[in-house]
Amino acid sequence: MNPFALVGRFVVTFLREIGRIAQFAALAVPACFMPPIYGRLVLQQMLRIGYFSLPVVGLTAFFTGGALALQIFVGSDIGAETLVPQIVVLGITRELGPVMAGLMVAGRVSAAIAAELGTMRVTEQIDALVTLSTNPFKYLVAPRLIAAVLTMPVLVAIADIIGVMGGWIVAVYSLDFNSAAYLNNTADFLKMGDVTSGLWKAAVFGFIIALMGCFHGYNSKGGAQGVGAATTNAVVSAAILILAANYFMTSIFFGEGSR
C-alpha cells in the first residue's frame, strides 16, 4: 500500500479516537455533578478502586523507595548522608509515587472496569439499563469517575509515606545510615508543594484511569474477543495518557515558568 495513505489513515484513526474520547468525557463529566448521584455505588467503587489497590500500591512504593536509596548511594561519592534522603523524598513525592501508583492502578482498575462494562455491553445489560429508564452514564460511569478521582490522591499519599519508609529502611538497615539524621534530612528538604503537586497528579491520573476503563468498556463490541481488546486498550491507553499527563503537569508545576 502507498506509505502516504498508511500514514494518513493512521493519523485520521488517531484523531477520530481522540474525538470520540472527548465526546465520551463531555457526557461523563456532567453526569458526575447532576443528580441523581448514586452514593451507594460511589462508596462501593471507592472500596474496589481505592481500598483493594492498597496492597499493590504499597508494595510498589516500598520497593521503589528502597531501590532508589540503594541506587543513589552507589552513585554518590561524597555527601550521601544528605543526597540519599533528599533525592528519595523528592523523587517519591514528586514523580515516582504518583506515576508508579497510577500505572499499577491503571493495570488493576482500568482493566477491571473495561472488562466489567464491556461484558455488560455485549450481554445487553447496558441496553437493559436504558429500557429501565436509567442513564448508564450516571449509573455506571459517574460512580467510577468520582471514586477514582477521590481515592487516587489518598492512595498516592500512602504510597509517598511507604516509599520514603522503604528508602529509610534500606538506608538505615543495609547502608548503615544514622536513622535520626536521615529523617531530619528528609524533613528539611521536603516542601508542601512537593506533596501537593503529586496529589494533584494523582487526581488527574484517577480521572484518566476510570475514563479509559469506562470508554473502552462502554464501546466494546462483539463478544469475548471484543471485551479482551477493550481491556487491553484501556490499560495501554491509560498508561500512556498517565505518562504524558505526568510530563505536562511536571512542566507546569516545576518548569521554568513556575520558578
Binding site: 445489560q125 437493559a128 436504558v130 429500557t131 429508564s133
Partner: protein, 255 residues
Amino acid sequence: MTAKIELKGVMKRFGRKVVLDGVDLSVEQGESLVIIGGSGSGKSVTLKCILGLITPDKGSIKVDGQEVTRLTGRPREQVNRKFGMLFQSAALFDSLKVWENVAFALIQGRGLGRREAKEIALQKLAKVGLGPEVGELSPSELSGGMQKRVGLARAIAAEPEIIFFDEPTTGLDPIMADVINDLIVATVKDMGVTTLSITHDMASARKIADKIAMIYKGKIIWAGRKADIDKSGNPYVDQFIHGRAEGPIKMELAK
C-alpha cells in the same frame, strides 16, 4: 385514534450497509404485533430505534403521537418509562440479586424504598411462577428458562404501557418456549398492554400475535392479521413460515 407506536419511512445504515430501508409500521393500543424475519433482516435494529438505543438516519417514530426520534436525556427517559423490554439473553444484571433485578426500575426510576420495592418484585416473580426463594439467588445460578422468566418479571415490574419482546423463545427447549409464550399471553392480556415482539420462531409468533408483520432486507413486505398469514399469497412469507431453503429468499452463504 392515534396509534400507540407508529413508524414512517425509518432508514438506518451502518457504513455502507443499509439495514433499515424505509420501515412503515403501526401498532394500535392494546394490540400485540409480532415482527418476523430472518437473521440480519433488521428486526433488532427496528426495536432499538424505537427504544432510542440507535438513532435512525431518516424517518419518524411516534409513541402516543409524540415524535421520539430526536429525544435525548430527560425527555427520552420519560418516554422510556412507558416501555418494558425482555431481552433475548434476558440481560439480567449479574451484580445484583434476582429480586433487585426485578425491582430495578422501581428503586432507580421511581425512587421506591427497598422494602416496598422488594414486596412488589416478589409479587411479579410469583406472577411468572417463581417463588420468593428465587429472589435471593444471583442470576448466574438460574437456568435459561428461569432467566427469561425473571427478565419478564423485570419488564412488567414498573407497569409499562408497552412491552417489547426480543426473541422471547430463542435458546429454550420447545416446552419451556411454550411456557414462556403462555406466560407472555397471560401477563399481557392481564395488564392490557401493547406489545411489539420480534422473533423467527413461528410457533411463538402464532401464539402471542394479534397481527404479524414480516421484515425482509430492511422493509416490511407483508403485514396483516395472524389468521391471514397462511393465505398471504406472498412467496417470501410462505417460504419463511414454512421454513423452506428453496424460494425467493436466498441465504447469503458464500461471500
